[in-house]
C-alpha cells in the first residue's frame, strides 16, 4: 500500500469507487463543512475538499480535511499550484501527512482572474505535472524537490485531474500519460455530459494502456437548474454540455428531478465503459443530493475495507 487510504484500498482491490466533493465555507465555522460531509460518509469512499475553488477564498482545504476526518469522513486534499510555491506546497504536504490525510489531488487551479481577487499575483512556480512528480518523490524517495531528505513517511495516494473535453483533443491523452508517468495513482475527470466524446477519449486511453496504469474516476456534475445548464454550456471553458441536455433541462417540469435523471443515465453508461474505475460526483452547492444519486445508481452499500 502506498498510503493505506480507504480510496486506495477500494481502487486497488478492483472495486468501483465513489467520491464526491465538498467546498469549505467562506468563513470560520467548522460545522458548515462537517454538516456537508457527514451525510456523505456512508455513500462515498472519500470526499474531496476543494482548494480556493474557482479562485474564491474559502477556508483552507487542509483545515477542511481535518474537520472532515473528525467526523469520520476520509478526505482527499485538493491542492492548486496557483496559490503556493514549491516551499508552501511541500510544507502543507508534510502537515497533511502528519495530520493523517492520505489522499491528495494535484491541480493547476482556475486562473485567479475568475475569482474574487482577480488582481492577485498567481504563483504557478511549478505546474500540476511537476507537482505530481514532486509528491511522488516525497512519498517514494523521501526527498524534497531539492533532493534533501525528509524525515518520516509521506503516505499519500496521489490524484490528478484530466479533462477529455478541452482542446486539443488528441493531445489530452498524451498529457494524461505525462500525469501518470509523473505519479498519478488515480484520475478524477472533468464533469462528463458529452458521452460520445468521453467514450472516444477512453478508447485512446485504453489504446495506450493507460487504464491499467492508473484508476480513472469519471466526473459528474448533477445539474440543478436550466440556468446552471446554460451557464456551464456557455461560460465554463473546457466543459462540453450538449444542447440536447440543455433542452431537456429547459423543457422539464421539475428541473431538479430531470438533473438527477440525467446524472443517473450518465452513471449507467459509465459503468459500461471499460477502464472506468469509479465516479466522482461534484454536486456544487448541492451536496445533499449525493446520497440519493449513489443509492439510485445502485452503488450502495459502499464496501467496508
Amino acid at each position: 500500500m502506498k498510503s493505506g487510504s480507504n480510496l486506495e484500498k477500494i481502487l486497488e482491490s478492483g472495486q468501483f469507487a465513489v467520491t464526491a466533493e465538498c467546498g469549505p465555507p467562506k468563513g470560520t465555522s467548522p460545522k458548515v463543512i462537517q454538516k456537508k460531509g457527514e451525510p456523505l460518509k456512508s455513500c462515498c469512499d472519500a470526499l474531496n475538499v476543494t482548494d480556493n475553488q474557482t479562485a474564491i477564498v474559502r477556508m483552507s482545504s487542509l483545515s477542511g480535511c481535518v474537520l472532515l476526518k473528525e467526523v469520520g469522513v476520509e478526505p482527499v486534499l485538493q491542492m492548486v499550484v496557483r496559490d503556493r510555491n514549491r516551499l508552501a506546497l511541500q510544507a502543507d504536504l508534510l502537515g497533511a501527512a502528519a495530520l493523517g490525510i492520505r489522499n491528495v489531488l494535484c491541480l493547476s487551479g482556475d486562473h485567479q482572474r475568475f475569482g474574487n481577487h482577480p488582481t492577485a499575483k498567481g504563483v504557478y512556480d511549478i505546474d500540476s505535472i511537476q507537482f505530481l512528480q514532486m509528491v511522488k518523490n516525497m512519498r517514494d524517495e523521501h526527498r524534497f524537490i531539492n533532493g534533501e531528505e525528509i524525515s518520516g513517511d509521506v503516505p499519500l495516494y496521489i490524484g490528478a485531474a484530466a479533462n477529455p473535453f478541452a482542446d486539443p483533443f488528441e493531445f489530452r491523452v498524451i498529457r494524461l500519460a505525462k500525469k501518470i508517468a509523473a505519479g498519478a495513482d488515480f484520475i478524477q475527470t472533468q464533469g462528463i455530459f458529452d458521452m460520445a466524446k468521453f467514450i472516444e477519449w477512453m478508447k485512446m486511453v485504453r489504446d495506450r494502456g493507460l487504464d491499467e496504469k492508473t484508476h480513472i474516476l469519471a466526473g459528474l456534475i448533477p445539474i440543478k437548474s436550466v440556468g446552471m445548464a446554460r451557464y456551464m454550456a456557455n461560460n465554463v471553458s473546457g466543459l462540453s454540455l450538449p444542447k440536447e441536455l440543455v433542452d431537456r433541462m429547459a423543457d422539464a417540469q421539475e428541473p431538479k428531478e430531470e438533473g438527477i435523471k440525467i446524472c443517473l443515465e450518465l452513471i449507467e453508461q459509465l459503468k459500461e465503459v471499460e477502464g472506468v474505475h469509479g465516479v466522482h460526483v461534484m454536486a456544487v452547492a448541492w451536496e445533499d443530493i449525493v446520497p440519493r444519486i449513489v443509492e439510485e445508481a445502485g452503488l450502495m452499500p459502499r464496501p467496508v475495507m
Binding site: 496557483r82 514549491r86 493547476s108 482556475d110 486562473h111 482572474r113 475568475f114 498567481g122 504557478y124 512556480d125 511549478i126 505546474d127 500540476s128 505535472i129 511537476q130 512528480q133 514532486m134 524537490i145 485531474a161 484530466a162 479533462n163 478541452a166 482542446d167 486539443p168 493531445f171 498524451i174 498529457r175 500519460a177 505525462k178 508517468a181 509523473a182 472533468q190 471553458s237 473546457g238
Partner: protein, 222 residues
C-alpha cells in the same frame, strides 16, 4: 522591442504641474516604434500640455527633444544642456530610460510619460503583443519557438491546462492558448513527441526572482 504606452494626458498634466520649465524627451528606438514616446509623440505631448496650461493659466516653458536611446549613457549625455535649463524632464522612454536619466542627472526631477508594457512585437498598425518575459533561460528550442512563460496565463511548462478550448485560453476568448499553438507547430514540424517528456521544474532565479539582474561580460570589462 520594449512596448510602451503613453500615459493619459490628465495623469501627465497632474504630475508635471508646477514644473514650469519642462523638457519632454522622446526616445527614438522602442518608444518610437510603440508610437508612444518618439520624437513625434514628444511634440504632440508638448503641444497638448501647452494648451492645457493656457487653459489653466499656468505659466512656463515647454521644450521638446528626442534622443536615439535613453538607455545608453552616451546618448543621454547629449541632452545635458537642455536638461540643465529645465525644472523637470518628462521622459517618454521605457522605465529603463527614465531611470538612466535620473542616474545621469541626480539633481533633476525626472518623470515618466509612458507605462512600460512588455517585450513584444508589432502585430499590425496599432497592435502590439507580448512575446518574451525575459526569464533569463530561453526554452524556445523545446516549445516550437513559442513561449509558454510569456504567453500562457499560468506559465505552464507541461500544458495545456484543462481550460483550453477552440484554441483559446480559459481567461478570455480573445487570448490564444499558446499550448495549442505549440502543439500545432510541433505537429507541423513532425516533432510533437518532444512534448511527451515531462518538462522539469524551472529555475526562476534568472527570471528576476533571484533579485535584480545584471549581465557582466568579463571579456569586455577586463
Amino acid at each position: 522591442m520594449i512596448t510602451v504606452e503613453q500615459k493619459k494626458l490628465e495623469e501627465i498634466a497632474e504630475m508635471t504641474k508646477g514644473h514650469s520649465r519642462l523638457l519632454i524627451l522622446g526616445c527614438e528606438t522602442c518608444a518610437a516604434m510603440s508610437l508612444a514616446g518618439g520624437k513625434r509623440q514628444a511634440e504632440e505631448v508638448a503641444g497638448a500640455i501647452r494648451i492645457a496650461r493656457k487653459m489653466s493659466g499656468e505659466n512656463g516653458k515647454i521644450v521638446e527633444d528626442a534622443i536615439a536611446r535613453q538607455c545608453e549613457p552616451e546618448f543621454v549625455d547629449l541632452v545635458e544642456e537642455g536638461v540643465a535649463q529645465c525644472d523637470a524632464v518628462l521622459s517618454l522612454a521605457c522605465g529603463a530610460g527614465v531611470q538612466l536619466l535620473a542616474e545621469r542627472y541626480p539633481d533633476k526631477v525626472i518623470l515618466p510619460g509612458c507605462n512600460t508594457s512588455f517585450l513584444g512585437i508589432t502585430e499590425g498598425l496599432g497592435i502590439w503583443s507580448e512575446r518574451c518575459a525575459g526569464c533569463g533561460n530561453c526554452i524556445l528550442d523545446k516549445t516550437g519557438g513559442l513561449c509558454p512563460i510569456a504567453r500562457c496565463a499560468k506559465q505552464l511548462l507541461n500544458g495545456p491546462c484543462g481550460g483550453s478550448m477552440n484554441g483559446k485560453c480559459e481567461i478570455s476568448k480573445k487570448v490564444d492558448c499558446v499550448w495549442q499553438l505549440i502543439i500545432d507547430r510541433l505537429t507541423r514540424l513532425g516533432r510533437l513527441e518532444v512534448l511527451e517528456e515531462i518538462f522539469p521544474v524551472k529555475d526562476w532565479s534568472p527570471a528576476g526572482h533571484g533579485g535584480p539582474r545584471k549581465v557582466i561580460r568579463e571579456d569586455l570589462t577586463s
